[in-house]
Symmetry: C2
Subunit: 566 residues, 2 copies
């Protein structure tokens, strides 16, 4: 009976696809990745044009026209509403120790890099000063485009001697203001260092320059039968050096682990220009302290990553996607436990969304249809498997699903039968940020919380806010990573005051992290104590002092001001 | 035809087991783990009894009696030959800045820890001063057994104020002299801090004190349906804090990655007694610098790890082992590539041994029989798969084997049909250190080398040494980790001069590591420049100075003397 119900559900999804389904299998479609460009138009509409310091743009509700695809908005829309992620940026004073760029400096950099790699024109600076969310905007007068480690070294040596602040920049796709200047820091963009240096097809070890765009590495590896161990929506713009510097998470972390697990080596240039060659290509190397980890996730504040060596997994042929309904969060949690055990080695994603998230997706995303249309369920789970054997992977997934249905962990579900169906299911999950933007104002939080407590904060927040706002939850349940969103008609300080500092205090009390995968950047530098002990933060400051005594690298970011300029 | 040959081979292994094979499947037997104890007898026979500094014991060939199981020898044998791993230990002078223990110190520690946790008796000190290989021996007069982080903190605060050198000690199973004193340093053994603090069955995150013996954690998790992400021969004695401090590798690294991938958090006590709480239990946490990595693999020289949080994988039900023959190293390498691709997510071990290694095993290990007896092959590969579905895993392995046989990558092979057969196959690989010990003198090197070059150094070494010694190679091919052994009738400085520094120079030239999984300890502290750049080593020394300005923690280890006491 339940089997039938399951199979009836499984057939339902066939309707999602207008074409017949000749191939029962699929591989996930990465052929049309989301591209995030550096915003170069519309900026003045949003920012008001003034500069000289960091601003937090608190806009007012303005509906996006229905035809506007939020994923594309960053590329060209000129009247897009700028929203704040919740926290109002800290008021910061420019560090008076920093020098100001003069004509001698420009002459030095032109001699070093060549004229075309020293950018001072308004367009280039406009794009490089503003983050892609248009939330943070600096006022740098100088963008440098080095083409080699030696050039990066010379730049930093010079800036250190002159006490010029420096912002290392990759694809500028960060969400916390880490990749743009706060004041007039020199921007050093690594985009011209974009060569693959070597690839070992036996071990799957890739060595590349830091400026390689993630997607170009994905394409390079695809031809060789390998994949990158990380996958991000921003892969069309983000650079591997930026990924490493921010310890980017993404969709494959559940399966392949973080970049601390996959980066085998790197080369970094210190603030004084010293080049640190840690570009090992070995899975095992216990010779001394493993210093590369200091540069993974330190957001460019300890050195500029110039080359990366990374372990890449082989591309596997069989991918399956199931979209399931659960009646309560405990069932989602138990289902995750079962999935880890029963799907074990083939499990590659375990995402969840709640009823409010699904409702938003159905109401605000074009072309999205409910794969389980008979009722709106309390929770939905997206499970992806990736393996090497189509038949056995399929059987494994189906056995797991039948078992879970019979055990009452899931109340309904469908399995995608081809690539279009898989994409349409993924689109629901991946379209949620867009749906939230369309729905109005949104306060966004990226939290790590022990899996069993993830939904507690959602319910507490809901109780706290009552009817004044809508609390929407989704995220990488398999990684314990909740994206908590508070959606309301317009930004409202009274609502914000109910959210913060409660959300940080709750997360801290439950040993969570206030930044799961986005980093601290400028946005949360002052909030670090919610997740780290004073002794640990003090040691971070000591490490910063050791590696960058003049604090020229990515100033005002990551660490609190009180420790940054002691 | 080839299929038949394969199947004929597959049947052959049935003969290895004297009993019928009712169960066609098995899980690998961990019920009789190798236990390495701290040597407490026989010591004086070997060392000559003198102390006051580090010694390298260069014994002479002495055959072990046939009934002596080398795996057990460390526990009780009293006349065991002591061998050197190749390098003659550097002559070291005691750091004159260190104080010497006096009666006030003893009184302080007794008041702090209680009399029974302050050991000064000869037996206890004998065991704690000597490593289990009996190669390194210190002359400490004091062994402390703290029971809490607070006690560790008070010990270090006191030692730092008095400038007393300290050796952090776990199970004392290291191979490079890292866990025993060099002179009269205070030994701080974490063995009394052996409680499991928490286990989250949803996420599989285990938090324990540092003194938990690895095997006790394995047993704890087994009841919950999880495994430790690392497995070592020494698991019956080694402690998780020591594993983390040395970044222990072992048998599961190919599948689950290193401890940098699996340790989610830790608590460490710094040299000045400050307790650093980094005991996160989250898969994702991008809040500031990830300082825990400094303590993973720094061999206790930056702080004493007191608690560990670790991600544990679910225990999977199906394990398969195949033992295969290849005609040349290139085939082994190609087979590895195929295995990564075809077995992908279930591959859990890929070990290799050469003809000389197999010959040694057959001649020196009791009860070992050749699973492929028709001929001696040039190379052998052991492949293990671990998955969640017996039937599909088996089919996947068989399809891979048939394909590899047809493609000429393997010339023969067998698949174990039950747990006894699997164990007997593993015994060949795991018995090689024992076989080498029985065969005579042996110079041992633990190298990481890019997979495609692993066997080049073996052949070069063989050409170089000619008939003067036997070059034996085996190791974790999947991790690029070669165990290179030069076996000769007796230790011979002329042979050693042909091996070193060639072996280090060759490894360095090929961007390998002179210590893949064993660490540097005392043995290779001076050799760090073969694997790390001067700038990187200098930064390590700066980090050491920052965290332990008096250099009281594990002195004389990891970093060269010239940088340790600047």
């Amino acid at each position: 009976m339940k089997m039938d119900r399951w199979r009836a559900s499984a057939r339902r999804i066939l309707k999602l696809s207008s074409r017949p389904n000749p191939a029962p299998r699929f591989t996930r479609d990465h052929s049309n990745p989301v591209r995030y460009g550096i915003v170069s138009s519309g900026l003045l509409h949003c920012s008001g044009g003034s500069c000289g310091g960091i601003r937090c743009y608190l806009g007012h509700k303005q509906s996006l026209s229905d035809h506007l695809q939020a994923r594309a908005f960053a590329l060209g829309a000129s009247l897009i509403q700028i929203r704040c992620f919740g926290s109002i940026a800290t008021k910061i004073q420019r560090n008076p120790k920093f020098a100001t760029i003069n004509s001698d400096d420009i002459r030095y950099f032109r001699d070093l890099l060549g004229e075309k790699n020293v950018k001072q024109d308004e367009d280039a600076l406009l794009a490089a000063n503003m983050d892609w969310m248009r939330k943070y905007k600096g006022s740098s007068k100088l963008l440098l485009l080095p083409r080699s480690t030696e050039e990066v070294s010379q730049i930093l040596k010079y800036c250190n001697s002159r006490c010029l602040g420096v912002v290392p920049q990759g694809g500028n796709t960060g969400l916390v203001g880490g990749s743009v200047p706060v004041f007039d820091e020199v921007i050093v963009n690594l985009g011209s260092m974009n060569k693959v240096i070597s690839f070992d097809e036996v071990s799957g070890i890739l060595v590349s320059e830091a400026g390689c765009i993630l997607e170009s590495l994905v394409n390079f590896l695809d031809n060789k039968g390998f994949i990158m161990p990380l996958d991000l929506g921003a892969k069309g713009s983000c650079q591997i050096g930026g990924n490493v510097s921010t310890n980017a998470g993404g969709l494959r972390l559940l399966r392949y682990g973080s970049l601390h697990a996959n980066v085998l080596g790197l080369e970094a240039v210190l603030a004084n220009g010293d080049v640190l060659d840690m570009l090992g290509t070995l899975r095992k190397d216990n010779t001394g302290y493993d210093l590369k980890h200091l540069f993974i996730g330190s957001e460019g504040s300890l050195g500029i990553v110039t080359k990366v060596s990374i372990l890449t997994p082989p591309k596997l042929s069989s991918v399956n996607v199931a979209f399931l309904a659960c009646t309560d969060y405990l069932s989602c949690q138990k289902l995750f436990l079962e999935a880890r055990r029963k799907l074990g080695e083939v499990l590659s994603a375990f995402e969840f969304l709640d009823e409010q998230a699904m409702d938003l997706a159905l109401n605000h995303l074009e072309g999205v249809r409910n794969p389980l249309p008979t009722a709106l369920h309390k929770f939905y789970v997206l499970i992806e498997t990736t393996g090497s054997d189509e038949q056995s992977d399929k059987e494994k997934l189906e056995a797991f699903l039948v078992h879970s249905l019979e055990g009452g962990l899931i109340s309904d579900g469908v399995v995608a039968q081809d690539i279009q169906q898989a994409s349409s299911v993924w689109n629901i999950r991946e379209g949620l940020p867009e749906a939230l933007m369309k729905a109005g104002a949104v306060y966004k939080y990226d939290l790590s919380i022990p899996v069993e407590k993830i939904y507690d904060i959602v319910e507490e927040m809901r109780n706290k806010l009552g009817h004044s706002a809508r609390v929407v939850a989704y995220g990488h349940l398999g990684d314990g990573n909740l994206h908590l969103n508070i959606s309301c008609p317009q930004y409202d300080d009274a609502v914000l005051a109910q959210i913060e500092p409660f959300v940080y205090e709750w997360t801290s009390k439950n040993r969570g992290s206030i930044s799961a995968e986005h980093g601290l950047g400028l946005m949360k530098a002052e909030k670090i104590f919610y997740s780290k002990s004073p002794a640990a933060v003090q040691l971070m400051a000591s490490v910063k002092n050791l590696l960058d005594p003049n604090h020229i690298l990515n100033p005002y970011k990551v660490l609190p001001q009180s420790l940054s300029f002691p």
